[in-house]
Symmetry: C2
Subunit: 132 residues, 2 copies
Amino acid sequence: MERQTRQKQAVMQAIETSGRSLNAAEIWSLAQLEVPSLNLSTVYRQIKTLHDEAQVVRVDLPGQPPRYEAPCHAPRTRGHEHHHHHFHCTGCEQVFPIHGCPGGIERLAPRGFQVQSHDLTLHGHCAACVGA
Amino acid sequence: MERQTRQKQAVMQAIETSGRSLNAAEIWSLAQLEVPSLNLSTVYRQIKTLHDEAQVVRVDLPGQPPRYEAPCHAPRTRGHEHHHHHFHCTGCEQVFPIHGCPGGIERLAPRGFQVQSHDLTLHGHCAACVGA
DNA sequence: ATCTTTGCAAAACCTTTGCACTGCG
DNA sequence: CGCAGTGCAAAGGTTTTGCAAAGAT
Protein backbone atom coordinates (compact mmCIF):
# COMPACT_ATOMS: atom_id res chain seq x y z
CA MET A 1 0.00 0.00 0.00
CA GLU A 2 1.13 3.47 -0.83
CA ARG A 3 2.30 5.78 1.91
CA GLN A 4 2.24 9.52 2.22
CA THR A 5 5.61 11.13 2.91
CA ARG A 6 6.91 14.68 3.07
CA GLN A 7 9.29 13.83 0.24
CA LYS A 8 6.55 12.64 -2.06
CA GLN A 9 4.44 15.70 -1.33
CA ALA A 10 7.37 18.02 -1.90
CA VAL A 11 8.12 16.48 -5.31
CA MET A 12 4.50 16.54 -6.41
CA GLN A 13 4.02 20.08 -5.24
CA ALA A 14 7.14 21.31 -7.01
CA ILE A 15 5.86 19.91 -10.29
CA GLU A 16 2.29 21.10 -9.84
CA THR A 17 2.97 24.64 -8.73
CA SER A 18 5.69 25.49 -11.23
CA GLY A 19 3.37 25.71 -14.22
CA ARG A 20 6.10 24.51 -16.52
CA SER A 21 8.23 21.46 -17.31
CA LEU A 22 11.04 20.67 -14.89
CA ASN A 23 13.98 18.33 -15.11
CA ALA A 24 15.13 16.20 -12.21
CA ALA A 25 17.58 18.78 -10.90
CA GLU A 26 14.99 21.56 -11.06
CA ILE A 27 12.47 19.42 -9.22
CA TRP A 28 15.12 18.63 -6.65
CA SER A 29 15.95 22.29 -6.05
CA LEU A 30 12.33 23.29 -5.66
CA ALA A 31 11.39 20.34 -3.48
CA GLN A 32 14.40 20.91 -1.25
CA LEU A 33 12.88 24.22 -0.21
CA GLU A 34 10.23 22.07 1.42
CA VAL A 35 12.41 19.15 2.56
CA PRO A 36 16.07 20.22 2.68
CA SER A 37 17.38 16.71 3.33
CA LEU A 38 15.68 15.40 0.18
CA ASN A 39 17.95 13.09 -1.78
CA LEU A 40 18.24 13.12 -5.56
CA SER A 41 17.63 9.37 -5.71
CA THR A 42 14.35 9.91 -3.97
CA VAL A 43 13.42 12.53 -6.52
CA TYR A 44 14.11 10.08 -9.33
CA ARG A 45 12.14 7.36 -7.58
CA GLN A 46 9.19 9.63 -6.97
CA ILE A 47 9.25 10.84 -10.54
CA LYS A 48 9.13 7.23 -11.68
CA THR A 49 6.28 6.39 -9.35
CA LEU A 50 4.27 9.47 -10.24
CA HIS A 51 4.88 8.84 -13.91
CA ASP A 52 3.68 5.24 -13.63
CA GLU A 53 0.57 6.51 -11.88
CA ALA A 54 0.06 9.10 -14.65
CA GLN A 55 0.31 11.83 -12.06
CA VAL A 56 3.06 13.49 -14.07
CA VAL A 57 3.78 13.58 -17.78
CA ARG A 58 7.22 13.13 -19.21
CA VAL A 59 8.33 15.76 -21.69
CA ASP A 60 11.22 14.99 -23.99
CA LEU A 61 12.73 17.85 -25.91
CA PRO A 62 15.39 17.33 -28.57
CA GLY A 63 18.86 17.11 -27.10
CA GLN A 64 17.71 17.65 -23.54
CA PRO A 65 17.32 15.52 -20.45
CA PRO A 66 13.71 14.54 -19.77
CA ARG A 67 11.44 17.01 -18.06
CA TYR A 68 8.20 16.41 -16.19
CA GLU A 69 5.01 18.38 -15.84
CA ALA A 70 1.61 18.06 -14.22
CA PRO A 71 -1.05 16.63 -16.53
CA CYS A 72 -3.04 19.42 -18.16
CA HIS A 73 -6.69 18.50 -18.28
CA ALA A 74 -7.86 21.78 -19.75
CA PRO A 75 -10.12 20.74 -22.64
CA ARG A 76 -10.65 17.40 -20.98
CA THR A 77 -11.00 14.77 -23.68
CA ARG A 78 -12.09 11.55 -22.07
CA GLY A 79 -9.28 11.57 -19.55
CA HIS A 80 -6.62 12.18 -22.16
CA GLU A 81 -3.87 14.67 -21.70
CA HIS A 82 -4.52 17.89 -23.58
CA HIS A 83 -2.39 17.87 -26.71
CA HIS A 84 0.21 20.60 -26.53
CA HIS A 85 3.78 21.47 -27.41
CA HIS A 86 6.66 23.31 -25.79
CA PHE A 87 8.69 26.46 -26.01
CA HIS A 88 12.31 26.16 -24.96
CA CYS A 89 13.97 29.41 -23.92
CA THR A 90 17.60 29.41 -25.00
CA GLY A 91 18.26 32.19 -22.50
CA CYS A 92 17.09 30.81 -19.16
CA GLU A 93 16.69 27.21 -20.35
CA GLN A 94 13.17 27.04 -18.99
CA VAL A 95 10.44 25.21 -20.87
CA PHE A 96 6.91 26.56 -21.24
CA PRO A 97 3.75 24.95 -22.61
CA ILE A 98 2.22 26.27 -25.83
CA HIS A 99 -1.28 25.38 -26.75
CA GLY A 100 -1.75 25.72 -30.47
CA CYS A 101 -0.81 23.12 -33.04
CA PRO A 102 -0.27 23.58 -36.77
CA GLY A 103 -2.58 21.45 -38.89
CA GLY A 104 -1.91 19.02 -41.69
CA ILE A 105 1.12 17.48 -40.12
CA GLU A 106 0.25 13.97 -41.30
CA ARG A 107 0.61 15.16 -44.87
CA LEU A 108 4.33 15.74 -44.37
CA ALA A 109 5.14 12.05 -43.98
CA PRO A 110 6.56 10.18 -46.96
CA ARG A 111 4.11 8.09 -48.96
CA GLY A 112 3.36 4.82 -47.25
CA PHE A 113 4.39 6.04 -43.81
CA GLN A 114 1.86 5.98 -40.99
CA VAL A 115 1.92 8.86 -38.52
CA GLN A 116 0.99 8.07 -34.93
CA SER A 117 2.01 11.25 -33.15
CA HIS A 118 4.24 14.26 -33.38
CA ASP A 119 6.33 16.59 -31.26
CA LEU A 120 6.91 20.25 -31.92
CA THR A 121 9.43 22.36 -30.04
CA LEU A 122 9.94 26.08 -30.47
CA HIS A 123 13.26 27.61 -29.50
CA GLY A 124 13.85 31.25 -28.73
CA HIS A 125 13.61 33.75 -25.92
CA CYS A 126 10.81 33.88 -23.40
CA ALA A 127 9.24 37.23 -22.50
CA ALA A 128 11.60 37.70 -19.56
CA CYS A 129 14.71 36.96 -21.64
CA VAL A 130 13.58 39.13 -24.58
CA GLY A 131 13.38 42.08 -22.20
CA ALA A 132 16.70 41.36 -20.55
CA MET B 1 47.13 19.83 -40.71
CA GLU B 2 44.43 17.30 -41.26
CA ARG B 3 45.32 13.72 -42.11
CA GLN B 4 43.50 11.04 -43.98
CA THR B 5 43.01 7.79 -42.08
CA ARG B 6 41.09 4.60 -42.64
CA GLN B 7 39.11 5.30 -39.48
CA LYS B 8 38.01 8.73 -40.61
CA GLN B 9 37.01 7.42 -44.01
CA ALA B 10 35.07 4.56 -42.46
CA VAL B 11 33.10 6.90 -40.22
CA MET B 12 32.35 9.36 -42.99
CA GLN B 13 31.35 6.62 -45.37
CA ALA B 14 29.03 5.00 -42.86
CA ILE B 15 27.17 8.27 -42.41
CA GLU B 16 27.08 9.14 -46.08
CA THR B 17 25.99 5.83 -47.49
CA SER B 18 23.28 5.06 -44.94
CA GLY B 19 20.88 7.72 -46.21
CA ARG B 20 19.50 8.23 -42.74
CA SER B 21 20.44 9.50 -39.29
CA LEU B 22 22.71 7.29 -37.20
CA ASN B 23 23.67 7.40 -33.55
CA ALA B 24 27.22 6.79 -32.36
CA ALA B 25 26.70 3.07 -31.84
CA GLU B 26 25.15 2.63 -35.29
CA ILE B 27 28.01 4.52 -36.89
CA TRP B 28 30.44 2.35 -34.97
CA SER B 29 28.84 -0.89 -36.14
CA LEU B 30 28.79 0.17 -39.76
CA ALA B 31 32.29 1.61 -39.75
CA GLN B 32 33.66 -1.50 -38.07
CA LEU B 33 32.73 -3.48 -41.17
CA GLU B 34 35.42 -1.39 -42.83
CA VAL B 35 37.89 -1.13 -39.94
CA PRO B 36 37.21 -3.88 -37.39
CA SER B 37 39.65 -2.50 -34.83
CA LEU B 38 37.87 0.85 -34.79
CA ASN B 39 37.43 2.21 -31.31
CA LEU B 40 34.28 3.90 -30.07
CA SER B 41 36.28 6.86 -28.78
CA THR B 42 37.59 7.41 -32.25
CA VAL B 43 34.06 7.38 -33.58
CA TYR B 44 33.08 10.07 -31.10
CA ARG B 45 36.15 12.11 -31.95
CA GLN B 46 35.52 11.85 -35.66
CA ILE B 47 31.90 12.77 -35.22
CA LYS B 48 32.99 15.84 -33.32
CA THR B 49 35.55 16.77 -35.96
CA LEU B 50 33.17 16.20 -38.84
CA HIS B 51 30.47 18.14 -37.06
CA ASP B 52 32.80 21.09 -36.45
CA GLU B 53 33.71 21.01 -40.14
CA ALA B 54 29.98 20.92 -41.04
CA GLN B 55 30.56 17.63 -42.79
CA VAL B 56 27.83 16.04 -40.73
CA VAL B 57 24.70 17.46 -39.16
CA ARG B 58 23.61 16.60 -35.66
CA VAL B 59 20.00 15.50 -35.32
CA ASP B 60 18.40 15.57 -31.89
CA LEU B 61 15.10 13.78 -31.49
CA PRO B 62 13.07 13.94 -28.29
CA GLY B 63 14.18 11.40 -25.73
CA GLN B 64 16.88 9.95 -27.92
CA PRO B 65 20.64 10.10 -28.04
CA PRO B 66 21.96 12.40 -30.77
CA ARG B 67 22.09 11.12 -34.30
CA TYR B 68 24.17 12.33 -37.21
CA GLU B 69 23.52 12.57 -40.92
CA ALA B 70 25.21 13.82 -44.06
CA PRO B 71 24.28 17.40 -44.94
CA CYS B 72 21.42 17.58 -47.42
CA HIS B 73 22.16 20.24 -49.99
CA ALA B 74 19.07 19.56 -52.10
CA PRO B 75 17.56 23.04 -52.57
CA ARG B 76 20.91 24.62 -51.88
CA THR B 77 20.33 27.93 -50.18
CA ARG B 78 23.60 29.79 -50.08
CA GLY B 79 25.46 26.93 -48.47
CA HIS B 80 22.86 26.49 -45.78
CA GLU B 81 21.52 23.14 -44.78
CA HIS B 82 18.10 22.54 -46.25
CA HIS B 83 15.51 23.02 -43.53
CA HIS B 84 13.86 19.72 -42.80
CA HIS B 85 12.39 17.56 -40.08
CA HIS B 86 12.40 13.88 -39.18
CA PHE B 87 10.20 10.84 -39.06
CA HIS B 88 11.00 8.40 -36.31
CA CYS B 89 9.82 4.85 -36.91
CA THR B 90 8.69 3.27 -33.66
CA GLY B 91 9.02 -0.12 -35.29
CA CYS B 92 12.59 -0.28 -36.52
CA GLU B 93 13.81 2.82 -34.64
CA GLN B 94 15.24 4.27 -37.80
CA VAL B 95 14.99 7.96 -38.56
CA PHE B 96 14.11 9.38 -41.97
CA PRO B 97 14.18 12.94 -43.30
CA ILE B 98 10.93 14.65 -44.27
CA HIS B 99 10.96 17.74 -46.38
CA GLY B 100 7.78 19.71 -45.80
CA CYS B 101 7.21 22.12 -42.96
CA PRO B 102 3.90 23.42 -41.63
CA GLY B 103 3.57 27.19 -41.77
CA GLY B 104 2.67 29.76 -39.18
CA ILE B 105 4.63 28.19 -36.40
CA GLU B 106 5.77 31.50 -34.97
CA ARG B 107 2.15 32.34 -34.20
CA LEU B 108 1.97 29.53 -31.65
CA ALA B 109 4.38 31.18 -29.22
CA PRO B 110 2.97 33.04 -26.24
CA ARG B 111 2.75 36.81 -26.53
CA GLY B 112 6.10 38.44 -25.97
CA PHE B 113 8.09 35.31 -26.80
CA GLN B 114 10.56 35.42 -29.67
CA VAL B 115 10.88 32.32 -31.85
CA GLN B 116 14.31 31.55 -33.28
CA SER B 117 13.83 28.03 -34.61
CA HIS B 118 11.74 24.94 -34.28
CA ASP B 119 11.94 21.15 -34.40
CA LEU B 120 9.24 18.83 -35.59
CA THR B 121 9.33 15.07 -35.17
CA LEU B 122 6.78 12.64 -36.52
CA HIS B 123 6.43 9.24 -34.90
CA GLY B 124 4.86 6.22 -36.50
CA HIS B 125 5.67 3.35 -38.81
CA CYS B 126 7.80 3.63 -41.90
CA ALA B 127 6.68 1.99 -45.14
CA ALA B 128 8.59 -1.19 -44.36
CA CYS B 129 7.14 -1.49 -40.86
CA VAL B 130 3.59 -0.73 -41.98
CA GLY B 131 3.81 -3.65 -44.35
CA ALA B 132 5.33 -6.00 -41.77
C1' DA C 1 5.28 -4.41 14.26
C1' DT C 2 5.18 -4.39 9.42
C1' DC C 3 6.55 -3.10 5.24
C1' DT C 4 7.08 1.04 2.16
C1' DT C 5 10.10 4.79 1.50
C1' DT C 6 14.42 7.07 2.40
C1' DG C 7 19.46 8.27 2.27
C1' DC C 8 23.80 6.95 1.04
C1' DA C 9 27.05 4.80 -1.80
C1' DA C 10 28.05 2.08 -5.57
C1' DA C 11 26.92 0.70 -10.22
C1' DA C 12 25.31 1.43 -14.86
C1' DC C 13 25.24 3.96 -18.98
C1' DC C 14 26.85 7.06 -22.42
C1' DT C 15 30.28 10.39 -23.72
C1' DT C 16 34.68 12.72 -23.00
C1' DT C 17 39.50 12.95 -21.84
C1' DG C 18 44.60 11.75 -20.68
C1' DC C 19 48.35 9.46 -22.37
C1' DA C 20 51.52 6.66 -24.81
C1' DC C 21 51.74 4.57 -29.35
C1' DT C 22 50.72 4.35 -34.43
C1' DG C 23 51.18 5.83 -38.82
C1' DC C 24 50.21 9.65 -42.29
C1' DG C 25 52.52 13.32 -44.69
C1' DC D 1 60.87 12.38 -38.56
C1' DG D 2 57.00 15.34 -36.41
C1' DC D 3 52.63 15.61 -35.06
C1' DA D 4 47.58 14.49 -36.00
C1' DG D 5 45.03 10.59 -35.08
C1' DT D 6 44.33 6.09 -32.57
C1' DG D 7 43.40 2.68 -28.86
C1' DC D 8 42.89 1.84 -24.24
C1' DA D 9 41.61 2.90 -19.74
C1' DA D 10 40.06 6.05 -16.62
C1' DA D 11 37.05 9.99 -15.58
C1' DG D 12 32.55 12.85 -16.06
C1' DG D 13 27.68 13.58 -15.91
C1' DT D 14 23.23 11.69 -15.27
C1' DT D 15 20.12 8.11 -13.87
C1' DT D 16 19.45 3.60 -11.49
C1' DT D 17 19.99 0.18 -7.91
C1' DG D 18 21.36 -2.43 -3.41
C1' DC D 19 20.96 -2.18 1.26
C1' DA D 20 20.40 -0.89 6.00
C1' DA D 21 17.93 2.58 8.62
C1' DA D 22 13.81 5.53 9.15
C1' DG D 23 9.08 6.27 9.45
C1' DA D 24 4.02 5.82 7.97
C1' DT D 25 0.04 3.04 8.97
